[in-house]
Symmetry: C2
Subunit: 198 residues, 2 copies
Amino acid sequence: MITEELLESHQALRKKYTKGDIIFREGELPNHYFQIISGEVKMCNFNDDGREFIQGIFSPKQSFGEPPLFLNRLYPANAIAVSDCELFVLSKPLFLKLINENALVSMAIIENLAQRLHYKSVMAAEISSQEPEHRLLKLIDYSIRFFKIEKEKEGHRIDLTRQQMADLTGLRVETVIRAIKALEKKNEIKIINRKVFR
Amino acid sequence: MITEELLESHQALRKKYTKGDIIFREGELPNHYFQIISGEVKMCNFNDDGREFIQGIFSPKQSFGEPPLFLNRLYPANAIAVSDCELFVLSKPLFLKLINENALVSMAIIENLAQRLHYKSVMAAEISSQEPEHRLLKLIDYSIRFFKIEKEKEGHRIDLTRQQMADLTGLRVETVIRAIKALEKKNEIKIINRKVFR
DNA sequence: GTCGGTTTATGACTCAAATCATAAAGCAAA
DNA sequence: TTTGCTTTATGATTTGAGTCATAAACCGAC
């Protein structure tokens, strides 16, 4: 999102996290801009009885957690390392300075926020009013269309566990497993040793 | 969001719509920036069997429908006039010119997008994993905290119909009616001739 | 190779919200 | 003040996803 040179010239630090590490918690006050160098990070909420909802999964070059930075609000969700990862970390004042000085960066931020808003609009409509199979197909197609999914000879391989799909769509694992099988039967997707292809 | 002077100096037009008018449709290509002068506009989706999901309701001074403008994507939802209203309408190229020339405006856009993203994060987590009463209370509290809700002696009056609350939370009207009554019984809210107060 | 943890799988059962039906109350316009 | 439409209300019934239980398949570490 923001180039390495620009980040480093503004004294961004590199910081390593190991799988499972909590980068920040829901309810905390944001103080930093984060951008992924390597690895994956998820933002998620846990409801009263521990069930998880995944707001999004982020990959290298993507940033996360900026919105409340601009609003002086508390984080609405947790950020957790999905795998070992390395991040650029830039303090809030330096980050704001950076975007004020650089029109291109602020345009990039706008596009980034617009993109996430688009995803959330699409999924919110799905989650609130569509059946499990429909929701899952939308998630899969959205992932293919807008995320980094390499096409193989069997089709696009969806690199999400059933549990992750469940947490992204607000369903239970068992429901996802059953819906995925139903979709295979309808020839909407293929399952090749447990991986979903489309 | 963007000042009247700035909009008019960039040749924005004023356009009137009457209650129920469709301002743009899901699937269309965005060509304009819209900002409300008076009245209210909702953005919503309709699922396969006609059920509505309300993405958001927008009031005077607020803009809507920009995200896909920045992404060259199709509108993910419909925009419909909730009441008679008047809007500023600015063509895409002129709008992009305006924000490029004006750092303050682009910062305002960022804040606006961040705000909507925050709302969507909160509601997505609710809708996907909380009970009806919890969802409704969150919607109500969010509305009070972040939208224009005047405090009266009975508390904050929530100016949403039961149907709108249903369409905002992904519930059915009957469920909302019952949950609202349950919340009254628990003294979380008051109902004074059918209006909800908190 | 074996062990332990994760992921996928499947059946039986439950239950809360959706659905369906019906009507009262409120409100705006004729 | 009557008419027609919207909004709120309430009971009965259905249903599909959630829950619970159990296990097989897979995978990485030792």
